[in-house]
């Protein structure tokens, strides 16, 4: 804390240098955690696949080739082909884009919504707090996957609707967390000082309380990503997420389900991709939490 305070007094370039120092020390500590590095490597590979899918994929992910349908893994199709003769490896590589799309959509909507509701609730208190927290409780009381299912049922299936439905179930924990942080700092000396200096409530909320919640929000976000991937895949598997012919991993498992006994690779390969990616996010999230939340380190 003290480095930041001094830095703001000294001025811009020193502040930047101090921040840079913090980033470097964070990276150094992170690199000492082998499991975290492993998780990071998985995520980097995922990003790489998504970015360079057209160059990495050996085949067209959408073009049917009925002569080659349900080919077992071999030299032509490294991980086999599906019921329309499409290369499963290419589809899994392209599917990484959809996975990132859903995770991205959910994170950029759920976290800010939850953060805003929580911080406003904690800062203002009173009846607004009561109403907001009751609503949050109701959303928390309903099982996530079921709520998402009901939302998609009402909205209609599709990848964006699935992301929207997951968002609607994902924001409450952020609100709870942000409220707790806001309650802790709203009457602290530095907030009172800013208030006396004449800052508006909105300015206090956005510039002085929200930044304090950021580290716990980031931790929560990385840990949430694995869950989001699993929920999205579950929706896709039930048939309410991405629609064919999109190579979404959950939907691919759903089509491969019919062939599980005779052509095991159709369902197994995309499931393995989901598993690896969500493992990567879990490992990364655990490592970041250990670094940003030192008092939690010993616990989980």
């Amino acid at each position: 804390m003290s480095t930041i305070d001094q830095a703001t007094i000294i001025g811009g370039s020193a502040a930047r240098a101090a921040q840079w120092k913090q980033v470097v020390s964070f990276c150094r500590r992170f690199s000492r955690n082998p499991l975290g590095m492993f998780g990071l490597a998985i995520i980097v590979i995922l990003l790489f696949c998504a970015a360079f899918a057209p160059w990495l994929a050996p085949h067209d992910p959408y073009l049917p080739n009925l002569q080659a349908r349900l080919t077992p893994p071999g030299p032509e199709f490294w991980l086999g082909s599906d019921e329309l003769g499409r290369d499963i490896l290419s589809r899994v590589i392209y599917g990484s884009r959809l996975t990132l799309l859903i995770v991205g959509l959910v994170i950029v909507t759920a976290a800010p919504i939850g953060l805003f509701i929580g911080v406003v609730s904690g800062t203002y208190g009173g009846w607004l707090d009561v109403v907001f927290m009751r609503v949050t409780d109701v959303f928390l009381a309903v099982p996530k996957l079921l709520l998402a299912l009901a939302f998609v049922a009402a909205l209609g299936p599709g990848i964006v609707n699935a992301a929207l439905a997951i968002t609607l179930t994902a924001w409450p924990p952020y609100a709870r967390m942000a409220r707790a942080e806001a309650l802790a700092v709203r009457n602290s000396d530095y907030v009172n000082a800013v208030r006396l200096a004449g800052a508006s409530e909105m300015r206090i909320i956005f510039f002085h309380i929200m930044p304090m919640c950021m580290s716990s929000v980031i931790v929560r976000m990385t840990l949430d990503m694995a869950g989001i991937i699993l929920t999205a895949a579950g929706l896709g598997f039930i048939g309410l997420g991405a629609q064919p012919p999109l190579p979404e991993w959950g939907a691919m498992i759903s089509t491969g389900r019919k062939f599980i006994f005779d052509q095991w690779w159709v369902a197994t390969v995309p499931g393995f991709a989901i598993f690896i990616v969500s493992l990567g996010f879990n490992l990364l999230g655990d490592a970041i939490r250990d670094l940003l939340d030192p008092h939690l380190k010993a616990r989980i």
Binding site: A141, L146, F237, G239, G250, T268, G271, I300
Partner: protein, 344 residues
């Protein structure tokens, strides 16, 4: 010791505020399902009658749903009907949703209960061992098993399980609750096939049902184990670093007594509430497992209703599971209060 009047007043006040919380949360749940069913769809009538319906059929449903009335009146009617146990009629089975739910629920309960049982029996000892050998190899092993449980898509693991244990090894029976051959032999008492067949003495049916439930229950058990072992570990780590543990050790208590008699006893109170809460999560996880295993439970009922656009059935199911969640939440609070001597 006789209870004084103020004690009773306090207790009454607590019960009243507890009831109020439950009522408000349930009302919120009603509002949420109402919102999903009536407000989000652009035209709720179309989702029932389909796009090619005649104007006559459309109007009939329009008035039957009460859509001509103001929205708050619709909501009041909806809430009052729910209070009377009227979840509406399922458009596909043409039976009241509530009676459908009651038929399908025991199968889900069976699965989730056995899963939870497996989770507790294996998860608690695993968590204790993990905390006791903190940062040694048993801890790493148990954490990795748990981490895999957190990361793997349950429906996929179900498919792989079917491929390996049913198709390749033939250790367990395939999808469904019992073989077609045995369907209808046992007259229902509780609607739970395991209990009914045992009560009626149909042991052949019973063992067939056991070989069907083994795989899905083991999978749910695995997920429950991943969660419970992680929570047990964290609670035990908290306890084992405290001074009373050191004191007990210094007084010469053996390790067995220190860990199980002292630390676990203190960790048990929050653990019970965590387990009660996780039960709700298992009910939810069964949606996907039931779809994979063709299990005739509430999860596959909801999933199949989704595809037929049967919104009453979906919302009824969501409300039921949501209400169970709320109930479990409250139960865990009550359990905490009764078990923890400090809150007595």
């Amino acid at each position: 010791m006789a209870l004084s009047a103020t004690d009773n007043v306090h207790r009454l006040g607590r019960v009243a505020s507890w009831l109020a919380t439950v009522a408000v949360t349930l009302l919120g749940l009603v509002a949420l399902t109402f919102f999903i069913g009536r407000v989000i769809p652009i035209d709720p009538v179309l989702s029932i009658v389909g796009e090619k319906a005649t104007q006559e059929a459309y109007d009939k449903v329009y008035f039957a749903l009460g859509l001509d009335k103001p929205i708050w009146e619709q909501f009041t009617t909806y809430t009052l009907k729910l209070l009377q146990g009227d979840f509406g009629t399922s458009f596909t089975t043409t039976r009241p949703v509530l009676s459908d739910l009651l038929t399908f629920f025991p199968a889900t309960l069976e699965l989730a209960t056995i899963g939870l049982f497996i989770g507790i029996v294996l998860g608690v000892p695993a968590g204790v061992a993990s905390a006791y050998w903190h940062d040694k190899w048993p801890d790493h092993l148990i954490r990795i098993i748990g981490l895999i449980g957190y990361s793997v898509p349950i429906f996929w693991l179900g498919l792989v399980g079917l491929y390996v244990f049913y198709f390749k090894l033939d250790w367990v029976s395939g999808p469904g609750q019992i073989d077609v051959f045995y369907v209808g032999i046992v007259k229902p008492i509780t609607n739970s096939i395991l209990i009914d067949s045992a009560l009626r003495g149909e042991w052949e049916v019973f063992w067939n049902a056991v070989s069907h439930i083994t795989l899905p229950a083991a999978l749910i058990g695995y997920f429950s184990l991943a969660y419970i072992s992680r929570m047990t570990r964290s609670l035990m780590l908290d306890q084992l670093t405290q001074e009373y543990v050191l004191t007990a050790r210094l007084k010469g208590a053996n390790e067995f007594e220190v860990v199980l008699g002292h630390a676990l006893r203190n960790a048990a109170i929050p653990l019970v509430t965590i387990i009660a809460l996780s039960y709700g999560g298992l009910l939810e996880g069964s949606v996907l497992i039931e779809t994979v295993f063709g299990w005739p439970g509430i999860g596959s009922y909801i999933a199949s209703s989704l595809f037929r656009g049967d919104i009453n059935a979906v919302l009824g199911g969501t409300f039921l599971v949501g209400a169970i969640f709320v109930f479990l939440n409250q139960l865990s609070d009550v359990l905490y209060a009764t078990l923890d001597p400090r809150t007595r």
